[in-house]
Amino acid sequence: MTAHPPLNSLQPRPIAERTRPKLVVVGNGMAGVRTLEELLKLAPDKYDITVFGAEPHPNYNRILLSPVLAGEMTLKEIILNDVDWYENHDIKLNTSSRITRIDRVLRQVFSADGRVEKYDRLLLATGSTPFILPIPGHDLPGVLSYRDIADTDAMIEAASRYHHAVVIGGGLLGLEAANGLRQRGMTVTVVHVMPWLMERQLDRPAAELLKKSLEDRGLQFKLGCETSELMRGEDGRVCALRFKDGSTLATELVVMSVGIRPNTALAESAGLFCHRGIVVNDTLQTFDPRIYAVGECVSHRGIAYGLVAPLFEQAKVAANHLAEYGIACYKGSVTSTKLKVTGIDLFSAGQFMGADDSEDIVLSDPAAGVYKKLVLKDDQLVGAVLYGDTADSAWYMQLLKDAQKVTELRPHLLFGQHHLGDSGHKGETQASSLPDHAEICGCNGVCKGTIIKTIKERGLFTLEEVRQHTKASSSCGSCTGLVEQLLASTVGGAYQPADGLHKALCPCTDHTHEEVRKAIREEHLLTIPQIMTFLVWKTPNGCATCRPALNYYLISSWPHEARDDPQSRFINERAHANIQKDGSFSVVPRLWGGLATPAELRAIADAAEKYAVPTLKITGGQRIDLLGVKKKDLPRMWADLAKSGLVSGHAYGKSLRTVKTCVGSEHCRFGTQRSMALGVRLEKMLFGMWTPHKVKLAVSGCPRNCAESGIKDVGIIGVDSGYEIYVAGNGGIKTVVAQFLCKVASDDEVLEVVGAFLQLYREQARYLDRTVHWVERAGLDFVKQQVVEDLEQRQTLYERLLFALQGTEDPWTEIAANPSHLQEFEVMSL
């Protein structure tokens, strides 16, 4: 054996090998460029990129051609990536340059304008072409299709010269074209071969309502009519349509919008396997492994999509493989439809027609212009059509995508998630009926017009993007439903609500909350760096979303073993007080069950005076808030309060907050149970419990329910024979009435059931889920099974909770007494 290293490692690598591999993209449209954007995020310098586009423009937002046609926007406003973008990313852009041939042996592409480019990887994103009815006269001047800027320009131009237009095709695009031409002053007739409009998205009743509102806007319809010929006028232009029955209809412009076909001509000429689209596998690779394809030109698992949302999902996966990460997989998309005609609210998704083995739930109020149909199969929502009220479309879409069982939701499914009303926008649930100046986001003062304008001008497609750019829905989130509606009505089916079940924890990882928890449990991970290494986090030390979540998952999975990481806690939990707008803090001592002794009240009063507290306030949670305390005074104030036995109220934490009580049978003439005593017992048991989100309890002594047990995470109502336990209520952003869990006879049983319920919540909910959100997902049946029916399981859950809470100390006393903890509160000086 020789000790020589391999020869080639000693020699300088030849230049050609050091240059970057070449990626060529054919098709400068929405899917192709989106793939590049995703690729640049993962591997910005990996490829030498060249793009060919047949159109003379940089990438634009094709779906906004409809508002351009309707005169609501200009072409300039719909550009998504301007020429500078290509330049800044070192991408060679060839516009007006159509690729006509691919040589797969030499790995070169050839364009009609004489360019030749070599590739190592090729991405086909050629989109689709409008289908043209092969009838006589289809190629006459004055016959247009509706696909790109050139078509849109031609229509705008025609609208300025002619008066009468016919749109053939009553589908989504046809109706948007018709509406646009009408807005430009033409009289427009829509000719449709089927008996009702948008038959691929709507059932008949919804289509009838749609037709009526479009008629109210001045459109005319000829349904069930098949065109057999386009007739030529004296000037050579199209002058009329002739139908199968021999009748005719005069016109000066015909827009054909009868469907699209994947644009596969180039791929087919190169010998790539195509069948109703360029056939790709789950990594978006064609049958030639060097060639990928995305967008409307592909056929994936037999489906060619015609909406933007699935193409964006494909783009993400293709980019992942082009970057040689090799882990993403595209499994197909569930899509929904939205018509972008201003003022018309319509939504459809899934198997909306229903079948023999499915059931329909229908609400029809034609006078109010509202129609809703939900299709259920095997206790799951499989389809929906909404007309006139689409407030809940995102929710339905979520249920549909997640294939969630809707057994318990069924009685009020049709009335939607929002029928109880969120706070902050005058109870409005219909975005379409609001004027432009209506305030949508009450936290950040953002109005409807601003949101729509930003979505259009910035080319936004997701809720997250709208949050970042407008701030709407980014604080308390109560207006999310409205913002989703605006997004959907502006970008149509291009907006698809995020997957609720398989939601990545945050942008630092693709893993879900559940996967992260599983890894922590099964791999016995004990620190945040261990989790990040094991699950290959994308950022060096996470973000403000994942770090607090990971910290919670660690301490709740491995109590007494995993160490708390203060730097991964939001300031309130790190400083054990609530930060105020001016950087001062508020201090809320615990008043067990809302009870106080004169000594405690005196201690609070003394502390308020000693530290010059500007505001003392009774909170909504039956205790006293000292507001405006300087951070450096906190430990000393706590030490003073502790002398009278006062401890932290955790008003700052994702933890046990308050146990609200009424006076109960201790004093009240109606009281059936000792609610104060039980409340104090519960609060003592749960003291110091960290939870996914805050937890609030209430105990009322009789069904008059003066402690408002009906809107608490856990609400208890005393009755003569024992206690009723209610769970998963919420009194905050969205009022949700708690659901009945069970009835028990004794205080001890209350403690055990409540303890088991909260432990299950601690173990299973996602960080920042209140109990209501978690129970909505997990199902009350499951919860009942675990904490009411299965007595053994109840017992073990309860024991796990008690174990986790063993030896819990008051954080205030601990910090005040321990000099090593004081650093957080000390200020240095210059």
Binding site: N541, A544, A575, Q823, E826, V827, S829, L830
Partner: protein, 108 residues
């Protein structure tokens, strides 16, 4: 000429944490320490609504403001993402484990 004044040692700031330095008059200075022991200093004022950046959560070379969640670069004070604004950076030195600030520092 800049006068450097020793403020504290590196160990006195927790990793991925911050400390506040008062300078006679507000605003204070926020001193940050990253996971890999780099030290940065900003005026303790978020460009959004003057939130105390020192109280934020530190990740990599960014801090997330505790009040409304803007993410500010520790390197140049720029707000990240779709937010626009800039926190003032303050010159800081790390030498032999000591962190120093300019004692004659004026606010920008």
């Amino acid at each position: 000429m800049a006068q450097w004044k020793r403020i504290c040692t590196l160990d006195e700031i927790p990793r991925l944490g911050a400390r506040v330095v008062e300078r006679g008059a507000p605003p204070n200075i926020a001193l940050f320490r990253t996971a890999d022991d780099q030290v940065f200093a900003l005026l303790d004022q978020c460009p959004h609504k003057q939130g105390p950046l020192s109280q934020g959560l530190v990740t990599d070379t960014h801090v997330t403001c505790p009040l409304h969640g803007w993410r500010i670069s520790l390197v140049d004070g720029q707000a990240q993402g779709a937010d626009a604004g800039c926190a003032a950076t303050v010159p800081v030195q790390l030498e032999d484990g000591w962190i120093s600030l300019e004692s004659s520092h004026e606010s920008h």
